[in-house]
């Protein structure tokens, strides 16, 4: 059980779209490269007049970084054996489409001019690219059919604890792909900031900021004790989630599948305890600690050796129930 795409859909998402994105990065360049100013205009103000430029090579590098990454996500999503993910595939489609469309349009606008300052590109072109990107990502999102909630075999253990024993458990999880993604964004953002003239700086700042935020999701630390569960981002120690023992009703170890639909689908911090009652901190598929919280809330965090964490937590909860005076503190 899970999410299935049929063969045609897999071909579309995993082969056709990536080919389109990569092709539309390379093909326009091949067609117009003899006919471009140096540097090329890459950013335009509201009236369509060029106000930002960059060397062609840098423009192609940045464009490729995004289209190749988006394509990689789509290929991976389509060719994995069991499932595909709706949100990430849709976002990858949107980004890949948008970037390749904008790049193509930009290159053609530059064609035939000697100086980048003479180049014009109406905002209609960018709007068209954005709208068509949205249009393309919707069918991709719809291709994902919702799966019934994964009643995966969850493992429940409980550690026996004497009344006076004190116990602490520490665990962690990390993700190399997310770390590399963060590095990529920081690199691309810095390149954009440093090498582009004019109005492009804000874009660079946004990308750089995105990369720095992603640094928070390279690794995480989990601590379990009679104070409850504390999750903390490894690098910057932020974000943090602190759940006191009084708010926890049960703990179990589960197998987290970010590619499956559900409150724990996708990577990063998903959902919100306050707004949606469900949240998940996912760095990778696999071992995860799932908590049932008071008020029908649920929280999941991917962590190595989740079985042990669940056992400790259930032990603490059982003990707290039999001797209420040890609760809280």
């Amino acid at each position: 059980m899970g999410l299935e795409m049929d063969r045609m859909q897999r071909l579309f998402v995993g082969a056709a779209l990536p080919a389109l994105f990569v092709g539309s990065t390379v093909l326009p360049w091949l067609l117009v490269r003899g006919d471009l100013p140096h540097p090329i205009a890459i950013h335009f103000d509201g009236a369509g007049v060029a106000n930002g430029s960059a060397p062609l090579a840098v423009h192609l590098l940045v464009t490729s970084a995004f289209t190749v990454s988006a394509s990689a996500v789509l290929v991976w999503a389509a060719w994995r054996s069991t499932a595909t993910l709706g949100l990430e595939a849709a976002i990858a489609t949107f980004i890949g489409w948008l970037i390749s469309a904008v790049s193509t349009v930009t290159l053609f606008a530059n064609r035939g001019h000697d100086d980048w300052r003479d180049v014009t590109l109406g905002s209609g072109a960018v709007w068209g690219a954005t709208m068509s990107a949205l249009g393309a990502s919707i069918p991709v999102a719809l291709m994902v059919r919702h799966a019934a909630r994964d009643r995966a075999r969850s493992r429940v253990h409980r550690m026996e604890l004497a009344a006076t024993e004190r116990v602490a458990w520490f665990g962690r999880a990390s993700s190399l792909p997310l770390a590399m993604g963060a590095l990529l964004l920081v690199f691309v953002g810095t390149v954009v900031l440093l090498s582009f003239e004019g109005g492009v700086a804000p874009t660079g700042i946004v990308v750089l900021a995105g990369g720095l935020i992603m640094v928070s999701f390279m690794s995480l630390d989990v601590a379990v004790s009679d104070q409850g569960v504390r999750v903390r981002a490894g690098a910057l120690h932020w974000p943090r989630v602190e759940l006191p023992l009084v708010e926890i009703e049960a703990a179990r170890a589960v197998d987290c599948k970010p590619l499956h639909w559900g409150y724990a689908s996708g990577w990063g911090y998903r959902g919100s305890l306050r707004l949606l009652g469900k949240a998940a901190w996912v760095l990778r598929g696999g071992d995860a600690l799932e908590l049932d919280l008071t008020g029908d809330r649920r929280f999941l965090v991917t962590v190595d050796d989740a079985d042990e964490a669940a056992a400790v937590l259930n032990g603490l909860l059982a003990r707290a129930m039999t001797s209420p005076t040890t609760l809280g503190g």
Binding site: L161, A162, E165, A168, W169, F170, A223, E308
Partner: protein
């Protein structure tokens, strides 16, 4: 990594903590290069004084099990060191016992007394 202590036990808390960490290293739950939880975090989680944890960590460092680095924290060293250290200590003990004229049986009895 799991750490369980019992304040009621006759063994001092710092020794219990050190023993738990040693066990985690010996069983491979914590590996070479892994970082132990910061003393403050472990102390807070167990509800003990931070210096109790620092003492435990200090003992482990003296045994050669961990390194304490300024910014990186407490890092586990190769577990192979522990066995070698044990053998070294045993050799020293055997040599000293021989110097004092203890027989092997006496030495065995002595070890039993203290362990």
């Amino acid at each position: 990594m799991l750490v369980k202590v019992d304040p009621r036990s006759s063994e001092p808390l710092f020794a219990q903590i050190a023993a738990q960490v040693r066990s985690a290293i010996a069983t491979g739950r914590v590996e070479e290069g892994d970082r132990l939880p910061p003393a403050r975090d472990l102390a807070e989680a167990l509800g003990v004084n931070m210096h109790t944890v620092l003492r435990a960590y200090g003992d482990l460092r003296d045994e050669g099990l961990v390194d304490m680095r300024r910014r990186r924290g407490v890092i586990v060293r190769a577990a192979g060191d522990t066995r070698a250290r044990l053998v070294e200590l045993a050799r020293d003990l055997a040599a000293e016992a021989a110097r004092q004229g203890l027989s092997k049986a006496d030495l065995r009895r002595l070890i039993e007394e203290v362990s």
